[in-house]
């Protein structure tokens, strides 16, 4: 039983390849996607494993009080939160539950303003649904869906002449719902982007936000991902060795994903933490960045994390509801 919930936002800082192994499609090594929509996801198990690995580095057998204030866990607490080590997996379940990470904003090359963050009513509605599940109240309405060739924008930043040109596709700008687009952009800038070092992006988000028809959005997340070609060279001839020429797909830099986090009370003997305390411990670990997905040693998959509770604050932070962060 989950007694506490919060949301984790994931901002992609270097290309993220959360892969599926082999693909038979356009790309040899495709990324994880939802079966029905084709939207990119990062599966919960990979995400939880990564949080676990990061938290392990912040756990020790007997942390001092000062350690605990700085976000260190005791080993027992660590195991209570994330579950026992594999050899003892059947003793009890971990208290923390992560969902799949879903896409909310997808960056697309733009003729004006370099790139745009695109989303759709479909993606926004899913986000609102999961936000409600974790008790987060964004407070903006879902806009009316734009037409197939139309882009809802706020202002003129994305206009090249009379149109919004994304990749090689041209859309008619529609500012009739500019107030809603602005509200969504400002809310995401304030609540979803990483807390420090993102001032420029927070200011830019409302103007670079663009809401597309769901089919246009779907096609961008299907065909607008980064495709990298890799080869292995034969050291003698400096030509491609055997069949060692392949392509990998990644989520581009500046994608924004979200994950519902839920927790119940500790099930581990001798560790007395309720769900709220569990989420607070996880959010207080100081994990502002971590690495997800493949190709870690070539710098891929660095993501910035932001934990947000139903007040829009970090779980367990002292601020009052609606208070300043």
């Amino acid at each position: 039983m989950f007694t506490a919930k919060s949301m984790l936002f994931i901002y992609v800082e270097t290309p993220l390849h959360a892969g599926t192994g082999r693909g038979l499609g356009a790309v040899d090594l495709p990324i994880q996607r939802e079966r029905t929509t084709g939207y990119p996801i990062v599966q919960a198990s990979g995400l939880k494993g990564r949080l676990r690995a990061a938290a392990r580095g912040r756990a020790k057998d007997s942390p001092t009080e000062q350690d605990q204030q700085q976000g260190w866990l005791s080993t027992k607490e660590f195991l209570a939160i994330f579950g026992p080590e594999t050899a003892h997996a059947s003793d009890y379940a971990g208290a923390l539950s992560t969902g799949d990470a879903r896409i909310l904003l997808f960056p697309v090359r733009s003729l004006a303003s370099v790139f745009a963050w695109v989303t759709s009513c479909d993606a926004l509605a899913r986000f609102l649904r999961e936000a409600e599940m974790v008790g987060l109240k964004p407070g903006w309405p879902l806009p009316l869906a734009p037409g197939k060739d139309t882009a809802l924008v706020n202002g003129t930043a994305l206009l090249a002449g009379d149109s919004v040109v994304l990749e090689e596709f041209s859309f008619k700008p529609d500012t009739s719902q500019a107030a809603v687009v602005k509200a969504i952009g400002e809310w995401l800038a304030k609540n979803a982007l990483p807390q420090t070092g993102y001032d420029y992006w927070k200011a830019a988000l409302p103007t670079k936000l663009c809401i597309l028809h769901e089919e246009a959005f779907r096609d961008f997340v299907l065909y607008g991902t980064e495709v990298q070609t890799h080869i292995k060279l034969d050291p003698d001839t400096k030509t491609v060795a055997g069949k060692m020429l392949w392509t990998t797909e990644s989520l581009p830099v500046d994608s924004l994903l979200y994950v519902p986090l839920m927790a119940g009370p500790s099930r581990a003997h001798g560790v007395d933490l309720d769900g709220q305390a569990i989420l607070q411990k996880v959010a207080s670990l100081g994990l502002t960045r971590t690495q997800l997905g493949g190709d870690e040693t070539t710098g891929q998959g660095i993501v910035a994390l932001r934990f947000v509770n139903s007040n829009g604050d970090r779980p367990g932070s002292a601020a009052t509801p609606g208070g300043k962060q």
Partner: protein
Amino acid sequence: MSQQRSLEQERARAAWGRVVEVKGRGYAGKYGQLARSAPADIQANGLGQTLSFWNAKGEAHHRALFNHVSDWVKGQIKFADADLLQWIVNTADTDGYRRATAEAIAFVIWLKRFAEAELPKEGD
């Protein structure tokens, strides 16, 4: 589901026919190599750019692949222009162009699959 399935089967059948047709030609190996990289090329560079590139290169295998993709997509999205590239440049709206891209990728994935199985590899 059944409609979706039959469309995939049609793509597969058409692609098979094209690959078999190429098989005996002198450019079969080069065609196979080009077809194998085609889906990723379209995804990475866009349909228009990829078609222009094949058109500009203009060797037999480029021309064959250009025509195969152009003919297939033309059959799916009815248009009056002479070929797919002309349609993209002159006529297509954004929605149509996106549909053509999706259709072209779906088709060249089959070409790639059959080319891998049937056509000689360069350097073999």
